[in-house]
């Protein structure tokens, strides 16, 4: 993975010193709160319901063991012993004090981490396929591109005060594991007919109040044109995006109002005008960055993994976990193993300092020192040999993170919601816990099959409910929590936004509502292999609506 050189180190150190100075100018009043707010947001510091919240960047979701250990230390020294992994592959700490933040940032800098631009109206954490470097189906490691974009977007002087947040994602496979369709700009690495590697560029996706799927901006962009093209796209947005209304300020609105043809025309015109040679990444720099993402030296293990097969027979729980939580690896005899941070009844995406340390140890011993954070708020050990998988499993059992539920009904995504967030209109975490407890039985979960439930505690949709098979949106109706249900959302291609079932439900009704939906699916599916999403696409909303509103007023 990428290693900082002296220039990267100096950059983050200077940023920490700058923030220290900004804090002291805030305390003297040289900066008003209005002026300080975007500055602290650009260092990832929110003010929430109960305390400040620090969002630490985990570039393209990749961590090494020592970094995970530092996150554990931060949780213990300056927080309340835990952190929360987010839907954009970052981590959040919920209880830092403002005066401690410069020290926390210094601790992060010591392990090549930071909180730069994880919030604010700027380019945010560049996310990527969490199985980068693992999937047999990838053209090249998308994190090389993600790292190039990360550097280019860090304190880009022209784009630090955009109209709104700007999110970029990168993949390199046909299967979209990074939700490209709902990003402001998305890059899919593709090969042209001539065999040249380049990008399919999408623009204008986004969730929130007005969810929209991205449109294709360029079917093929040669690699060398990446940064000049991004500059052109951002410049047109910065100049012409709306500034009059916070809820109309994302690029998706600009693309929608101009039309994709006109937006594209303006981008291509600007792109033609830019001096590419001045902006583009030099080939040797690209090679330098690429070298950091060379695959780890994993011994090919062909032949039957005897120990693995033996333990599956001896320990059925391990067999169930291995069946559900692993993904094929390009190197024979290896898998990527998902550590579910969704124990039944637990807080989705949270991990204690102790759990983080164990995950770090497991990564160091059994996953080439690497971990990945997913947008489903789980953690992946990307390079585990089957021969070592049982050891990993036992390590997870010891810390209660052995739930065999990747992608199943209890693998729920939930934003922090009204328990933490100043923007929330309803609670989300206890709703997730109640649903999870309702479906605790592992056999029942397996019977139901793949079912993505995502819960957002307000219209900002940080829980990504629009792209969930069952989406739950918590609103406030005259002081009472009311939960709207959407069905049929999906983030991988063909992406879809969920459709509303109808009127909302109360906090107490939600687990029953989910059960009714699940039961309806089980009754209607043609075979046990037909997934919820497949059934929904075949039968539509009507049967579900009927069941949910059967005793309608």
């Amino acid at each position: 993975m990428y290693r900082y050189d002296e220039f990267d180190h100096r950059f983050v150190r200077e940023r920490v010193a700058e923030f220290r100075d900004q804090v002291s100018r805030r305390l003297t009043g040289a900066l008003t709160e209005d002026e300080f707010r975007p500055l602290r947001l650009m260092n990832g510091l929110y003010l929430q319901l109960h305390a400040y919240m620090l969002r630490v960047a985990i570039p393209y979701g990749t961590l090494e063991a020592r970094q995970m250990r530092m996150l554990a230390e931060i949780a213990e020294r300056w927080d309340r012993g835990y952190g929360h992994f987010t839907t954009r592959q970052n981590i959040q700490f919920n209880w830092p004090k403002l005066r401690d933040v410069p020290e926390i940032l210094e601790a992060l800098a010591s392990v090549e981490m930071h909180a730069i631009q994880t919030s604010g109206n700027c380019i945010r954490n560049v996310t990527a396929d969490p199985l980068a470097g693992v999937g047999p189906d990838e053209i090249e490691d998308p994190r090389i591109t993600a790292e190039v974009v990360r550097q280019w977007s860090s304190l880009h002087p022209e784009f630090v005060f955009l109209g709104r947040k700007f999110k970029i994602a990168v993949t390199a496979t046909e299967e979209d594991r990074a939700a490209l369709a709902v990003h402001d700009i998305a890059l899919q690495i593709v090969r042209s007919e001539a065999g040249e590697t380049g990008y399919r560029v999408l623009v204008g996706g986004g969730l929130g109040r007005t969810p929209m799927l991205a449109r294709e901006l360029r079917a093929f962009l040669p690699k060398r044109d990446l940064l000049p093209y991004l500059e052109a796209a951002l410049r047109v947005y910065n100049l012409h995006g709306r500034r009059d209304n916070k809820f109309k300020a994302r690029i998706k609105i600009l693309v929608h109002e101009l039309g994709i043809e006109e937006y594209r025309r303006q981008v291509e015109e600007e792109f033609a005008r830019i001096e590419h040679g001045h902006i583009a990444v030099p080939a040797d720099e690209l090679a330098r960055i690429g070298a950091y993402f060379a695959p780890p030296a994993l011994p090919e293990r062909t032949g039957t993994p005897v120990e693995f097969e033996r333990m599956k027979k001896l320990d059925p729980a391990f067999a169930a976990w291995a069946a559900q939580n692993t993904h094929p690896h390009r190197v024979p005899g290896h898998v990527a193993a998902t550590i579910s941070l969704k124990p039944v009844g637990g807080v989705p995406g949270d991990a204690t300092a102790e759990q983080m340390r164990v995950m770090a140890d497991l990564a160091e011993a059994h996953s080439a020192d690497e971990l990945r954070v997913t947008k489903e708020q789980n953690v992946i050990l990307p390079h585990v040999a089957l021969a070592d998988l049982y050891k990993v499993y036992r390590g997870l059992v010891a810390i209660g993170l052995d739930a065999p539920n990747r992608g199943l009904v209890t693998d729920i995504v939930a934003c922090p919601g009204l328990d933490y967030c100043a923007l929330a209109t309803a609670r989300s975490i206890p709703v997730a816990q109640a649903i999870s407890n309702r479906f605790a039985d592992p056999a029942r979960q397996r019977e139901i099959g793949p079912l993505a439930i995502k819960i957002s505690g307000c219209i900002n949709a940080c829980g990504h409910h629009h792209i969930a098979h069952i989406g739950i949106l918590g609103l406030d109706k005259a002081g009472v929590e009311s939960y709207q249900i959407t069905l049929g959302g999906e983030s991988t291609a063909p992406a879809a936004l969920g459709e509303r079932t109808g009127p909302g439900f109360s906090y107490d009704e939600v687990p029953d509502v989910v059960e009714k939906i699940v039961e309806t699916y089980l009754k209607l599916r043609e075979t046990p292999r037909e997934s919820f999403l497949q059934t929904y696409r075949r039968v539509g909303m009507e049967p579900f609506k009927e069941v949910l509103y059967a005793e309608a007023h």
Binding site: Q22, F161, L227, E275
Partner: protein, 180 residues
């Protein structure tokens, strides 16, 4: 409190900003609002005698740079309004004006905070005219100190600013990194 600053510190403001109804003087340096630009250009450049007037224009941050381009060789200064420091359109407008070939003095006017000064300079601005209330809270020292905070940036193609990517390559090749 000095209100005009550039990268070296407080600067003497020799420009007078004209209002909608102020008469054009015979000589000096005047900044006119955008809707008086045509009138001012006519007065300054179409008379037989040599005009002693230097002309500047003040534009909103959503002005069309292409429409200004025709007047580039008549304008010694363009002032771009920064109505709110969080409104970053001016940065792209400044970049565009330079990219289109404006060689005169580029001024940012309004609500800009110290931490944005480096971005202004990187986007082609030469100077910053601070709003009074902002200038009162943020002494010049804050702005100059802020300039030194980030020694290099990642982005290439920014005149007068060292890019990390180019410095890296220079370091690899064993030559001296290009100075700022």
């Amino acid at each position: 409190m000095p209100r005009l600053i550039d990268r070296d510190g407080p600067a003497e403001d020799r420009w007078t900003t004209l209002g909608a109804d102020d008469a054009l003087p015979a000589s000096g340096a005047v900044i006119v609002p955008l809707d008086r630009l045509e009138e001012a250009v006519d007065a300054v450049f179409d008379s037989a005698a040599d005009s002693g007037l230097e002309l500047g224009v003040h534009v909103p941050n959503n002005a069309d740079p292409l429409r200004l381009r025709a007047g580039f060789d008549r304008l010694a200064l363009i002032s771009v309004e920064f109505p709110a420091f969080a409104d970053g359109r001016g940065f792209s407008l400044g970049h565009r004006l330079r990219a289109l070939g404006f060689k005169g003095r580029l001024r940012a006017s309004g609500h800009v905070i110290a931490d944005q000064f480096a971005y202004l300079l990187a986007c082609g601005f030469d100077e910053l005219a601070l709003r009074d209330d902002v200038a009162e809270r943020q002494p010049v020292e804050h702005f100059l100190k802020a300039l030194k905070r980030i020694s290099a940036g990642y982005q290439r193609g920014i005149p007068g600013r060292r890019s990390i990517l180019d410095a890296r390559r220079a370091a690899r090749q064993g030559t001296n990194a290009a100075p700022r």
